[in-house]
Symmetry: C2
Subunit: 177 residues, 2 copies
């Protein structure tokens, strides 16, 4: 994952990863036949770890945390997209947009991870998706989180992001009632 | 721009662009000394064209369009991030995150284009930034627009996007009063 985040798809070969991990190229290839397999598996694994960690932050959130804590949930969701996982996933997405071999695999991975994140967001926010517009409120919030991740790619955007998260935490809380 | 969007940074050399544009490599290099200059100039040029086109869509918007049209403004802002300009800019951003030579130039370009887009958004939405949270409401909206652009990279996300835009149009309209 560090390899992908730091050197991009073009600079991340199985050999480079194997060397960094202190295993032989053959050992790496025994587990992952292709570079595509290796990196999509890595992104999926870390995404699952992050999802579990997110749920762990709000252990009492069955049916949603109290309204006052929704801003904390929004902040934690945004945090998913500002760390090394997002940087690595972004490298993979952008490479996939130019490589036919990679594209369907990454699109499928993105859809799977996106659905799981949406599920967690709905649960932690205590959002009732039977209400009109609720699903789209949560989806837009996760799109905003991805956009904030992008804004953090080249510069440290933490100060601005904190203010945006505070404001949209309030707006989402109001919208969800 | 098409070159960057289709082949990424690694596949976009000055030679490739010159051939596609039907000029000699020397002619291209006469105008742009380096690949970095060529592509940041291209992204900036197209971003300016898109900004002008956006203002042109709402010619009577001095001080903001009527409240009922804010959803149309939100939709037009989101459109900025779902076309070939965003695809090309994204390639440049991601390449810059791995290339020290490119990074400061692209960060500076991104900041400049981001400020201009924010100015247009405030103007077209008739947002009064002296109000508490108004600035962050508009910023979060533009972050969401970037996230929607990202979601459209590998798959056609138009149907979902339309629903998210309708809902966030309502939320932004209410928040701005």
């Amino acid at each position: 994952m560090s390899c992908l985040a730091e050197h991009g798809w073009a600079g991340s070969t199985v050999s480079v990863v194997a060397e960094r991990a202190g295993v032989s190229r053959g050992a790496a290839q025994h587990h992952f036949r292709t570079r595509e397999e290796l990196f999509t598996a890595a992104v999926e694994y870390v995404a699952e770890e992050r999802s579990a960690a997110l749920r762990g932050l709000f252990p009492d959130a069955g049916g949603g945390v109290a309204g006052a804590d929704r801003t904390a949930v929004v902040a934690a969701l945004v945090d998913l997209y500002t760390g090394p996982l997002f940087r690595a996933a972004l490298q993979l997405w952008v490479a996939a947009s130019n490589e036919e071999q990679l594209s369907p695999r990454v699109a499928e991975l993105e859809a799977r991870v996106g659905r799981e994140t949406h599920r967690i967001a709905v649960e932690l926010l205590g959002a009732d998706e039977s209400g009109s517009g609720v699903r789209e409120t949560v989806q837009g919030l996760l799109d905003m989180a991805r956009g904030l991740g992008l804004a953090n790619l080249l510069t440290d955007d933490a100060v601005r992001r904190k203010r945006v998260v505070a404001q949209w935490g309030r707006l989402v809380d109001e919208a969800l009632g």
